[in-house]
């Protein structure tokens, strides 16, 4: 039995996989892939995946002999493991002691120090309250990291650069910690600027053997959650890799650690590394390690749980090629590098036709992305002989990845993979805020890109126009009827306008713009989400998201969706005479940036708020987001109260 998706379990003879399910995901893919599914409660995770009693009931009901906890939820919960062991069921994971020791950040740091692992300077104890937090932060000196003692995965983590940050950070982190882990203990440590996040995968067995499976570079993060991971790292030299691996193994041996685990390090620009934490479970990004080492980690975990000794020794573990994992999230990358988005995937096609691509996902066409879970749609893992190959494969895969119904972060992923700093390997955990200081604005187009998009838009329009003339069962009319073969169009993208002449010649559209003529092969199917055709003989992939009779087209090019208006020249001429519609002034309101639940409201009608002051907190997908006043003013109306569910762009608070 396993409680979370880690790709397709390879069922071996004699194995029967059960799947735990809560109401909201009854129709998700992992449910259909398992041999049998068991319902463990309603959608809210604390009543289902986090409810040990419910899960124990399911385990005993199915007569399971072992439980794989996946990642997240109860995968690092010692109480759960104890209960399983008491019931005589094996837990496919480490021992209770290891989970306890590494699960608590303070304890883990002490253990790591004892095992001779480099650690970060910080405060060795529990922070009592916000003032205490400020005091400690001053002692360590800013910047500091405030994080949940029980936490992981970026939840309940805040960086503070001054006293105010420290106070806010303490409050938010402890609330998040309480809601995510049921434990609001907080600790503070030195925050290392410009660090890289590099982690070592380890495997240990019950016989005292342990090996490291090289590193994963996970520096590309937003709000301390990983976005792109790769293995190996461009940064480490052989010596550092070995030193880090050996420290990780020594920690394992010291702990008597068995099963798969990950030792996370922060590495500074001089390849000095500090122990961060150890994750006593399989990690989301484990496939990149599997690709470069050829080791099936889930398989190893099951073997180890059964008590088999490791057959691998350190010299059996190679670095072969390069693997990159892009986490495809259901979130809007234009808002703070990703705010959750919900909806139903009415169209969903994974780019599995591209060789060397693996998609680990828990969803399918028709799946609904709800506010209850992490907004991750898929782990897109691409492999190549070299880093360049892996990047190119990733690009090809992302370009033909069809996701409709939710806003997703492919535009950002696609852009990072072609960004100069990334290509040169010049990255750190601050990558996003340094490369996109004003936030992500979508793919920046050069003139050729622009021309290609406009040409495709013109062809789509022409194709639609031709089709609107082709009726199959009309009476022969007295009028001479001919579908058009020539168009004079005016196309606008952003605020630019361009005249363009299109001519259909045989199986080609000749698109004339300014001084250039492009020849586009008519491989365009208006029903297909993908446009795969040739422009001047060069293959090109775009996606057609929507089209309408008013000439509005949405086309995806290199991940980013562009809205293009195509009109005949006469319609365009007339449109210019039409008055502009007034737009609603949104500066006097606070809109919900995403769907979620109102956690708290910190203002009342009549309050005077300063610009940037927090007005309320929205919680979605287990992340708390503090919303602030956009301008100073007096609160005119508060439309929500704590506990309300809100949709994207709902008006929460109005100012006078």
């Amino acid at each position: 039995m396993k409680a979370e998706t880690f790709g397709s379990p390879k069922t071996r003879p004699g194995e029967q996989w059960y799947k735990l399910v809560e109401d909201a995901s009854e129709k998700k893919r992992h449910v259909r892939m398992a041999d049998e599914a068991v319902c463990i409660g309603p959608a809210a995770t604390k009543d289902s995946y986090l409810n040990i009693d419910h899960i124990m009931l399911a385990v005993t009901k199915t007569g399971s002999q072992a439980v794989h906890p996946g990642y997240g939820f109860l995968s690092e919960n010692a109480v759960f493991v104890e209960k399983l062991e008491a019931a005589g069921i094996s837990f496919i994971g480490p021992s209770v002691e290891a989970i306890n020791g590494m699960g608590d950040k303070l304890e883990s740091k002490r253990l790591a120090q004892a095992a001779g692992v480099n650690t970060i300077p910080g405060f060795d104890g529990i922070v009592n309250d916000a003032d205490h937090c400020v005091q400690i932060a001053r002692e360590i000196s800013y910047p500091v990291m405030i994080k949940a003692s029980a936490g992981g995965g970026g939840k309940g983590m805040r960086i503070a650069r001054n006293d105010d940050d420290a106070r806010d950070g303490f409050r938010l982190a402890s609330q998040e910690a309480a809601s995510s882990f049921g434990d609001d203990r907080i600790l503070v440590e030195k925050f290392i600027d410009k660090p890289r996040h590099i982690e070592i995968q380890v495997l240990g067995d019950k016989h005292g053997n342990a090996v490291y499976l090289n590193e994963r570079e996970c520096s590309i993060q937003r709000r301390n959650q990983k976005v792109i991971e790769e293995a190996p790292s461009v940064f480490l030299n052989e010596g550092t890799r070995k030193a880090m691996g050996e420290q990780a193994v020594s920690l394992c041996k010291r702990l008597g650690y068995y099963s798969a685990g990950t030792v996370e390090f922060l590495v500074d620009s001089e390849q000095k590394f500090y122990f961060l934490e150890m994750n006593t479970r399989l990690q989301v990004e484990h496939p990149v390690t599997e690709y470069i080492t050829g080791v099936d980690l889930v398989h190893q975990m099951i073997r180890i749980a059964k008590g088999h000794p490791l057959l691998l020794t350190q010299k059996d573990i190679p670095i072969k090629g390069w693997a990159i994992e892009s986490r495809v999230y259901s979130e809007d990358p234009y808002k703070n590098f990703g705010l959750p988005s919900i909806g139903r995937l009415y169209k969903y096609i994974e780019p599995l036709h591209v060789p060397n691509v693996r998609c680990d996902s828990g969803i399918d066409e028709g799946s609904e992305i709800s506010i209850y879970y992490d907004p991750m749609i898929c782990k897109l893992v691409c492999y190549g002989n070299t880093r360049n190959d892996a990047i190119n494969t990733s690009l090809e895969a992302l370009d033909s990845y069809v996701i409709r119904g939710v806003t997703h972060n492919i535009p950002l992923l696609r852009d990072i993979l072609t960004e100069t700093n990334f290509i040169e390997g010049n990255i750190s955990t601050n990558y996003l805020s340094e490369v996109y200081p004003d936030g992500f604005k979508g793919r920046q187009l050069n003139s050729t890109d622009k021309q290609h998009i406009l040409a495709i838009a013109a062809c789509v329009f022409s194709k639609m126009d031709m089709r609107s003339y082709t009726f199959l069962n009309e009476r022969p009319s007295t009028a001479k009827r001919k579908e058009p073969a020539e168009w004079t169009l005016v196309i606008s993208l952003f605020d630019e306008e361009l005249q363009c002449d299109v001519k259909k010649v045989g199986n080609k559209f000749h698109v004339h713009m300014k001084t250039d003529t492009l020849s586009v092969e008519d491989h365009i199917n208006l029903s297909s989400p993908l446009i795969q055709t040739n422009i001047n003989g060069k293959p090109i992939v775009m996606q057609l998201v929507s089209k309408d009779a008013s000439g509005k087209l949405q086309i995806v090019y290199q991940g980013t969706t562009f809205t293009i208006f195509v009109l005949s020249d006469k319609a365009s001429k007339f449109l210019k005479m039409m008055p502009e519609k007034p737009t609603v002034d949104v500066s006097k309101v606070v809109l919900s940036p995403m769907p979620g639940m109102v956690k708290s409201v910190s203002c009342e009608v009549g309050d005077t708020m300063a610009e940037g002051q927090e007005v309320c907190i929205i919680e979605a997908m287990k992340m708390q987001n503090s919303l602030v006043a956009g301008a100073s003013g007096k609160v005119k109306a508060v439309h929500v109260k704590a506990g309300d569910t809100v949709g994207e762009d709902d008006v929460l608070i109005e100012f006078e």
Binding site: R344, Y346, G366, F471, E474, T478, L526, M578
Partner: protein, 523 residues
């Protein structure tokens, strides 16, 4: 088939002769034998001048004023509506006949309306476009005659009539003649009803008696901010009832598409409206003698739609969006919704399946639980009757908890209004396919294109439940006075909360999501 073809040819011949004789730009004078060369040249010159004047309508300054209001001129509208170069104008040189109030000195060739026929995506349509620059688009007797002529012609040929309304009202100087003109148009609206599609696009004011023509056409569309429909304007309202109301509030696009239900849809501006109208016509047959059009289809008819498996929530009381079901079923998610903002508890509109136009009716659980009330019944009934008249197959998605109870509904006649929808579905003889997605409760189940009202193919999804009423209501009647009614409730749910009671009675064709069947039947 052959006789039909012959009829078409005959009609074509009649039409072209008719045009040549009466309406050609080279009028009858050119063929008179007594003209001298000089005379001919002079007449030619006169024709040229008159045409030039006709093309200018009310003159440059009035055209500018029209543009300043954010409106296109009558000619520009026709130019945009028709395929390039396809518009054939009638009565371009006709002039009004009024000689009172100095009107004899103010004449404009063509008067205040432009009429004719043209092609829209290669298909013929008749149209009139009222010219606000000439006497405020007011309706003179000759204006009415021009409109009547195209309407008669459209009936003869069997093609839609499109009215682009932009008129201040009756030509007061003409008195009863103008009123007679309205009545002539009304009569033709009625006689054409159900024979050819009639569409009104309100692109400016339309007030007083004039409003009844659009009201009797099949579809009334409006343009936001620039169009108004009302019986009496704000000034009269003020003097009679002492109410203060703006034009927009009284009869603007928003009022009529959300509150009154007079208009079927509103568009952003003239250009948007005309482009959308071109698109909309592609859904309609030319007349009641033509089949629902089949356009070339790129969307595979046997496409699998896994999304349909997940739309209906597990909780039977939870709302969902029926529009999701609709757009996932029709070709390319292309659904032209009619009255999207009025009586939102029912969805109506046109889509295509394997290229053929279908009319979609669906209860919308997202709004008022998808119940039937007065407004939704009237909205649905009119649509069903249109589809029935014009050979458009109807697909009905049912999730209806019943009719809306309450004095508000009963006192306003939910019984007779609800009956309209029942009548319309029962009367319709076009192919009718019904899919029960979830609830089919009470009389409302019967109404929604049930098997018992000549439904051709009725499907039930696995989530379907058909019963006289919900469990709570039913058990409180069945077990009145007994303690522990809730335990019977569970029994009731077990019995009726599934598709089986109706399935064993042979009501359904099949249980399950078998879109394959739906598409084959409709194509």
């Amino acid at each position: 088939m052959r006789s039909k073809m012959a009829l078409y040819c005959l009609r074509g011949a009649v039409r072209s002769n008719y045009i040549r004789r009466n309406y050609g730009v080279c009028g009858v004078q050119l063929f008179n034998l007594y003209s001298t060369a000089a005379h001919t040249l002079r007449v030619n010159q006169q024709i040229k001048e008159k045409r030039k004047r006709a093309l200018l309508g009310g003159g440059e300054s009035r055209i500018d004023a029209q543009h300043k209001k954010g409106k296109l001129t009558a000619r520009e509208r026709i130019h945009l509506l028709c395929d390039p170069g396809s518009f054939v104008e009638y009565d371009m040189l006709v002039e009004h006949t009024c000689s009172d109030f100095g009107m004899e000195k103010q004449k404009y060739p063509g008067d205040s309306v432009i009429t004719g026929h043209g092609l829209i995506n290669g298909r013929i349509a008749y149209m009139f476009s009222q010219d606000f620059t000439v006497f405020g688009g007011s309706l003179s007797s000759i204006h009415a005659k021009k409109i009547c002529k195209v309407m008669d012609q459209a009936m003869l040929v069997g093609a839609p009539v499109i009215g682009l309304n932009d008129s201040g009202g009756a030509r007061i100087q003409e008195g009863v003649e103008s009123l007679a003109g309205y009545a002539d148009i009304f009569l033709r609206n009625v006689l054409s009803s159900g024979v050819i599609p009639q569409i009104s696009l309100i692109m400016g004011p339309c007030a007083g008696g004039a409003v009844y023509s659009p009201a009797m056409t099949d579809f009334t569309f409006m343009v936001e901010d620039t169009s108004y429909l009302f019986i009496t304007g704000p000034d009269v309202v003020k003097s009679v009832t002492n109410e203060n109301v703006t034009q927009e509030e009284l009869g603007g696009a928003k009022t009529h598409t959300t509150t009154s239900g007079v208009a079927h849809k509103a568009f952003h501006n003239d250009v948007d409206a005309l482009l959308q109208l071109r698109n909309f016509l592609g859904f309609l047959p030319l007349s009641n003698k033509d089949p629902a059009p089949i356009r070339i289809c790129d969307d595979p008819w046997d496409r699998d739609v896994p999304t349909l498996d997940t739309i209906i929530p597990q909780e039977t009381t939870e709302a969902y969006d029926m529009l999701e079901v609709v757009v996932n079923v029709v070709d390319e998610r292309d659904f032209f919704e009619i009255m999207p903002n009025y009586a939102k508890n029912i969805i109506i509109g046109f889509g295509r399946m394997n290229g053929r136009t279908v009319g979609i009716v669906g209860n919308q659980p997202k709004c008022a639980a998808g119940c039937l009330d007065i407004n939704s019944s009237v909205k649905g009934a009119r649509f069903v009757r249109f589809c029935d008249a014009f050979n458009i197959p109807i697909i009905t998605f049912v999730d209806v908890p019943g009719f809306l109870p309450g004095t508000g509904q009963e006192h306003n006649g939910i019984i007779r209004h609800g009956a309209k929808l029942l009548y319309a579905f029962a009367e319709a003889t076009v192919p009718k396919i019904t899919v029960i997605t979830r609830k089919g409760y009470g009389g409302a189940y019967d109404v929604m294109s049930s098997k018992h009202l000549r439904g051709d193919v009725n499907y039930a999804w696995p989530t379907a439940e058909v019963a006289v009423m919900g469990a709570k209501g039913a058990t409180s009647i069945l077990f009145k006075g007994k303690p522990d009614v809730s335990k019977y409730e569970a029994e009731y749910v077990e019995k009726f909360g599934n598709p089986f009671p109706a399935a064993v009675r042979g009501v359904y064709f099949k249980i399950g999501i078998e879109l394959l069947f739906i598409t084959t039947v409709s194509s």
